[in-house]
Symmetry: C2
Subunit: 211 residues, 2 copies
């Protein structure tokens, strides 16, 4: 049985907070305590974790190491998923060097860019391949996850090519609509939206001062 999308989207958050607790030397935590650090209600937390078959122990709570292993298995984080990053501008470079990818079980298998000045250079230990050879790169690396850090205008043609080559998960930073066939999952990261959420609260604060 599959988990609901909202439960899936919370699992990495749980995993991350468990890692921080573990690093701090904490061994067990109550559902209330874990819910608080994660920012969900205790009942939501218990429900999410019960879907994984994890119920905690009355009076003890959850064993952090066990819960980490269980969520990690569910997310497949031990697999070293090969990821191809397309677009090696500032954003692509930042992503290539992002420690959070490797610590979460991902491996930057290839970097791809169309710029002759960039092709062949080594970025964070990976040589940049020519965008013209994208199909061969995907075949060679067996990447099923692609990260798009291209300009918006280039995004759809890149998506068409990677999907044709068997990529089924796409993380995109390009602020544009992407058409993909059924079965391909696209997650958009829109940094402007995050700022807009902050602006809402800023606006409310300034209104409160005026009133």
């Amino acid at each position: 049985m599959g988990l609901s999308p909202t439960t899936v989207s919370r699992l990495p958050v749980y995993l991350r907070e468990l890692e921080l607790l573990s690093q701090a030397g904490v061994e067990t935590i109550s559902s209330t305590g874990l819910a608080e650090v994660v920012g969900v209600t205790p009942s939501q937390l218990r429900k999410d974790l019960s879907h994984l078959g994890s119920y905690g122990t009355r009076g003890v709570g959850y064993h952090i190491a066990g819960l980490q292993a269980q969520i990690g298995r569910e997310l497949g984080t031990a697999r070293g998923w090969p990821v191809v990053i397309i677009g090696v501008g500032n954003l692509g470079r930042a992503l290539a060097g992002y420690a959070g990818f490797s610590s979460r079980g991902f491996r930057i298998a290839a970097l791809v860019d169309p710029d002759p000045a960039v092709i062949g250079t080594v970025v964070h230990g990976v040589e940049v391949s020519d965008l013209a050879e994208l199909e061969a790169v995907i075949t060679r690396t067996k990447a099923t996850i692609a990260v798009l850090a291209t300009p918006p205008a280039a995004a759809q043609s890149v998506v068409d090519r990677v999907v044709h080559q068997g990529v089924t998960s796409i993380l995109t930073f390009a602020a544009t609509v992407l058409a993909v066939p059924d079965g391909v999952i696209v997650r958009k990261v829109d940094l402007g939206q995050e700022l807009q959420i902050l602006a809402y609260y800023e606006q409310r604060k300034s209104e409160e001062v005026v009133r």
Copy 2:
């Protein structure tokens, strides 16, 4: 009355889809149609928008231009909020050049970095200031929103300094826990979590093949 955090987090998504529809020449849309492009249920959409006092018209739906203006006002996007970006590595540079910030009513008022080789250079039209002068930069720009693109180890000390100077909203890319006083809002962007969500679906697909 304030909106719930989950409603607030959806408003930028609504606004963005309305912009795309508007660019495509669409003038009105039914709640069902808008809900579908946004990816929520129609009842959720109607509830969210009713909090803004927007109910649509039976048989017509929502007027896109009007709804855009209304959500924009709620989010304060017309204000040109000054934002300071701290950390001018690859990520900070990518953020400084990110078109989605200016199109959503934000203005990169300052870039700050401790590296003498970077201080004084101009990145996307903004001269990089010395981190040592962070307090003066915030006073001068009146920024109340800070974007942290620093290494994790530097993040807390930067946060303490900006908060002391009156910054009340922080968007952080640093994968670390940040302590802030009440009333300061922190939003974390964790790019590794986005990949983990994709990995969950990849894992399920490969299990289905095996079964």
